[in-house]
C-alpha cells in the first residue's frame, strides 16, 4: 500500500466466550479511498465493524485512526459514542436503524446533535432563543437539505422515516451518517436488498462521497457488482482471519478467495469470479 493511511487495524482479536470471531486481523484503510471488507457469511466482518465503531471492546489488538492533521486516536480505548463524536467515525447498520417515528429531516438533525448542543449552550442559550443558536440551527437545516438533495429525498423531507421505501431508508441512513461530517464512513452492507438501478445509484453516491468530499469509506458488502466496481482496496476474511487483500483484480484472481467462497456459497463464488469479466 502506498497512500496515506486513515485506519490501521493491528492484530485485532475478538472472542465471545470460547468462540473466536476475529483472530489477529491486520489491515489498513487509506485516506480518500474506498476499502471493502468481504467474505462469506459468518466470516466476522460485522464483528470487525463493531470493534472499530466501539460497540464491542476488542479482546486484543489495536485500532488506530489518523486524522488529516496527524492526530492519532486509539479507537479500542474509546466508548461507542466518543468514537463518533471525537474520532469522527460514522456508521450504518446491516438492518437499517433509523428513527422511524421522526421525520426524514429530524433524522438528519439528530445526526448534528453535538454541534447543535454546543451552539445551544448546552440547552440554556437555546431555551431563551439566543440568535447564535438560531443561526446554528439554520446551518444544520441547510446541511441536511444539501444531503437530502444528494440522496434524492428532498421531497420526502417532512415524511416519517419509517414510511420510506426500503431503498430510500438505506440512502437516508447514509445521509444521516454523513451529516455527522465523519472522517471515516463505515457502511455495513449498504446495497443489501437494493435492485439493480438503486445499486447503481448507490455506487455513484459512494464515489461522490469519496471524490467530492474526500471522505474515506470502509465497506462491508456482499453485492460484488458494488464491491468490484467502486473499491480501491479489498480485504477478504474467512472464519475470522484475513485470507487475502489487494485490488479488485488481484482479489478476484486469488485462488484462496475463490476456494473460500466455493466452500461457503456457490452463487457468491460465481459472482466473485464473474464480476470482473
Amino acid at each position: 500500500m502506498s497512500g496515506e493511511r486513515i485506519l490501521n487495524v493491528d492484530q485485532l482479536t475478538m472472542r465471545f466466550g470460547g468462540i473466536v470471531a476475529v483472530q489477529d486481523l491486520s489491515f489498513a484503510a487509506e485516506r480518500r479511498k474506498i476499502t471493502a471488507l468481504i467474505g462469506p457469511n459468518g466470516a466476522g466482518k460485522t464483528t470487525v465493524f463493531n470493534c472499530i465503531t466501539g460497540f464491542y471492546k476488542p479482546t486484543g489488538g489495536a485500532i488506530r485512526l489518523t486524522h488529516a492533521d496527524g492526530r492519532e486516536i486509539a479507537l479500542e480505548r474509546l466508548n461507542d459514542f466518543r468514537i463518533a463524536k471525537q474520532a469522527k467515525v460514522a456508521r450504518t447498520f446491516q438492518n437499517i436503524r433509523l428513527f422511524p417515528g421522526m421525520t426524514v429531516l429530524e433524522n438528519l438533525m439528530v445526526a448534528q446533535h453535538n454541534m447543535l448542543m454546543r451552539a445551544s449552550g448546552f440547552t440554556l442559550l437555546g431555551l431563551v432563543g439566543a440568535p447564535t443558536y438560531r443561526d446554528a440551527e439554520k446551518r444544520a437545516i441547510d446541511l441536511a437539505t444539501d444531503w437530502l438533495k444528494r440522496v434524492n429525498l428532498l421531497d420526502r423531507a417532512d415524511d416519517a422515516a419509517g414510511n420510506l421505501a426500503y431503498g430510500d431508508q438505506r440512502r437516508l441512513e447514509i445521509a444521516r451518517a454523513m451529516c455527522t461530517e465523519p472522517a471515516l464512513l463505515c457502511l455495513d452492507e449498504p446495497a443489501a436488498g437494493l435492485n439493480a438501478r438503486e445499486s447503481a445509484a448507490l455506487n455513484e453516491l459512494l464515489l461522490s462521497i469519496r471524490d467530492d468530499l474526500g471522505t474515506s469509506i470502509l465497506l462491508i458488502e456482499h453485492d460484488m457488482s458494488v464491491v468490484m466496481e467502486i473499491s480501491d482496496h479489498i480485504v477478504v476474511m474467512d472464519h475470522g482471519v484475513k485470507i487475502a487483500q489487494g485490488t479488485p483484480r488481484e482479489v478476484r484472481d486469488d485462488p484462496k478467495v475463490i476456494a473460500a467462497y466455493l466452500g461457503a456459497d456457490e452463487e457468491e463464488a460465481m459472482a466473485v469470479m464473474e464480476s470482473g469479466s
Binding site: 459514542f81 463524536k85 436503524r97 429531516l105 439528530v110 453535538n114 416519517a160 451518517a177
Partner: protein
C-alpha cells in the same frame, strides 16, 4: 365486576352459540366468585373468625355476568369483527384532529376563566386545582416516559421529595414558598440524577422495577425516619403561600386589607388555582421549547433507537439523565405546591398508586402529546371524582378503567406525533410508527 367475556367464538353467530358462551362465562364466574363473594369472613371481637353466606349477591353477580356476556357478544357482532380494535372510525379521527387544533387554545381560555365562572363553587375550584396538579405531574412524567421512552414507575418519589423539601424547609427554617419552590425542584432533580446515574443503563422492564423499588424506598424512609419526617404522622402546619410576601389571610397585613376589599377565603383558593396553572403552563412551555432543541430531539431519538443514537455520537447516559432530572424537577415543583396547598403531608399521599395514576395519564394521553396528557388528566381525575360517593368501589372502577382503556386505545387518546422541525409543511406522524423506547 364485568364479565370474563373474551370467550372468542368467531363462528358463533346464532342464538344457541351465544347462550352457550354466556353460560360458560357464567359458570366461570360462579367458580371465581363462589368463595370470595359467596362467603364473607370477618374477625370477631375476640379474634376468632366467623363467616356467613351471601348467596344472593353471588347469584346476582353470576346473573350479571351471564347477561353482560350476551350484551357484549351482541355488541361485538353489531360493530363487526374489528370492533375491539378500532372503535373510532378514521373519518371521526380526522374530525377530531381538526377539533384538536382549536381545542388547546379553547381549553386554555376556559381554564383561565374557571375561577371567574365558578367563583362561588368551592368544590369545583378544588377539583380544578387537583386536575391541574395531575396535569402538571403528567407533563413532567411525559418528558421521561413520552419523550425519552424511559419507563419510570417511581415518579411519585420526586413528588414526595419536592413536598417534603418545602414542608421541612418551611417549618424548620421558616423559609418562604418562593425560595423553597426552586429548591424543591433542584432537590428533586438532584435525587433524579442520584438514582438515574447507576440505573439508567438498565433497559426496559428492569428500569421500571428499579424505579418502582426506589419509589418504595423513599416512602419507607419517610415513614421510618421519624425524627426528620414525623413518620406516619407526617408534617403539619406547613405555611400557606404568600403573594410575594403578602399573606392571603384575614390579618391587617393580608392582601384583602391592603387592597381594601372584604376578606374571603376564596381569595386563597383562586390564588392557588392560578399558581398551579402557572406552574403547569411553565412545565408545558419548557417541554415544548426543549422538544425543539437538540436535547429534546435527542430524547426522542433515544426512544426510537438507542444504538443508532450512540453511533451518531450522542452520549446516551447524559441524555437520559437530563430527561430524568427534568422530569424529576417538575415533579418536585408539583410536590412543593401540593404541600403548601394541603398544609399537611404524610407518606400516605405518595404511594405506588399515585405513580400508576400519573403513568396511566401519560399513556392514556398518547405518549408524548401535551394536549393528550391534559385531556387524560381531566378524564381520569374528573372520572375518579364522579365515583367519590362509591368510596371502596372507586379503585375497583379505576382498575377496570385502566384495563379497558388500554384494550380500547393502547396508544392513548392522541395518536399523532408532531414533528419538531420541517422544511415545507409539518405533517403529523402516525403513532404506529413511533417507538416506545427500551429503557
Amino acid at each position: 365486576m364485568t364479565a370474563p367475556s373474551t370467550q372468542t367464538t368467531k363462528t358463533a353467530s346464532g342464538i344457541p352459540a351465544l347462550l352457550k358462551t354466556a353460560f360458560i362465562n357464567a359458570v366461570i364466574a360462579l367458580v371465581l366468585f363462589s368463595l370470595m363473594v359467596g362467603i364473607r369472613t370477618e374477625a370477631g371481637s375476640e379474634g376468632q373468625l366467623t363467616y356467613w353466606t351471601r348467596f344472593g349477591e353471588l347469584a346476582s353477580l353470576v346473573a350479571a355476568v351471564f347477561g353482560g356476556s350476551i350484551v357484549i357478544e351482541l355488541l361485538r357482532q353489531w360493530i363487526g369483527p374489528a370492533g375491539t380494535e378500532k372503535l373510532v372510525p378514521p373519518a371521526l379521527q380526522k374530525g377530531m384532529s381538526l377539533v384538536g387544533r382549536y381545542l388547546a387554545p379553547a381549553l386554555l381560555i376556559f381554564t383561565l376563566l374557571v375561577p371567574v365562572i365558578f367563583y362561588n363553587q368551592r368544590y369545583i375550584l378544588d377539583l380544578a386545582i387537583l386536575v391541574l396538579t395531575y396535569v402538571m405531574l403528567g407533563w413532567g412524567l411525559n418528558v421521561v416516559v413520552g419523550l425519552a421512552g424511559l419507563l419510570d414507575l417511581g415518579y411519585v418519589a420526586f413528588y414526595a421529595v419536592g413536598a417534603y423539601s418545602y414542608a421541612l424547609l418551611a417549618t424548620n427554617f421558616g423559609w418562604s414558598f418562593w425560595i423553597c419552590l426552586p429548591l424543591a425542584g433542584i432537590l428533586a432533580a438532584f435525587w433524579g440524577v442520584l438514582l438515574g446515574f447507576p440505573v439508567l443503563r438498565l433497559r426496559g422492564d428492569y428500569l421500571a422495577i428499579v424505579t418502582l423499588a426506589f419509589g418504595e424506598i423513599i416512602r419507607l424512609v419517610l415513614i421510618n425516619w421519624q425524627s426528620l419526617t414525623g413518620g406516619p404522622n407526617g408534617v403539619s402546619g406547613i405555611p400557606r403561600p404568600t403573594l410575594f410576601g403578602i399573606p392571603l389571610n384575614n390579618s391587617d397585613d393580608g392582601l384583602a386589607a391592603k387592597l381594601g376589599i372584604e376578606f374571603s377565603p376564596t381569595h386563597r383558593i383562586v390564588f392557588l388555582f392560578y399558581l398551579i396553572l402557572a406552574l403547569a403552563l411553565l412545565t408545558n412551555w419548557v417541554t415544548i421549547r426543549l422538544r425543539g432543541l437538540p436535547i429534546g430531539r435527542a430524547w426522542e431519538a433515544l426512544r426510537e433507537d438507542e444504538v443508532a443514537c450512540r453511533a451518531l455520537g450522542i452520549n446516551t447516559t447524559t441524555t437520559k439523565l437530563t430527561a430524568f432530572a427534568t422530569g424529576a424537577m417538575f415533579g418536585g415543583f408539583a410536590g412543593a405546591f401540593f404541600a403548601t396547598r394541603q398544609g399537611f403531608i404524610s407518606p400516605e399521599s405518595f404511594t405506588f398508586q399515585e405513580s400508576a395514576l400519573v403513568l396511566a395519564i401519560v399513556v392514556l394521553g398518547g405518549m408524548g402529546s401535551q394536549l393528550g396528557v391534559a385531556l387524560a388528566a381531566l378524564t381520569m381525575i374528573g372520572g375518579f371524582e364522579l365515583f367519590r360517593g362509591l368510596e371502596t368501589y372507586r379503585m375497583l372502577v379505576f382498575g377496570w378503567a385502566m384495563v379497558l382503556i388500554m384494550i380500547w386505545r393502547p396508544r392513548g387518546l392522541v395518536g399523532h406525533r408532531a414533528p419538531t422541525v420541517y422544511l415545507k409543511k409539518a405533517q403529523a406522524i402516525s403513532s404506529d410508527l413511533v417507538k416506545e423506547g427500551h429503557g
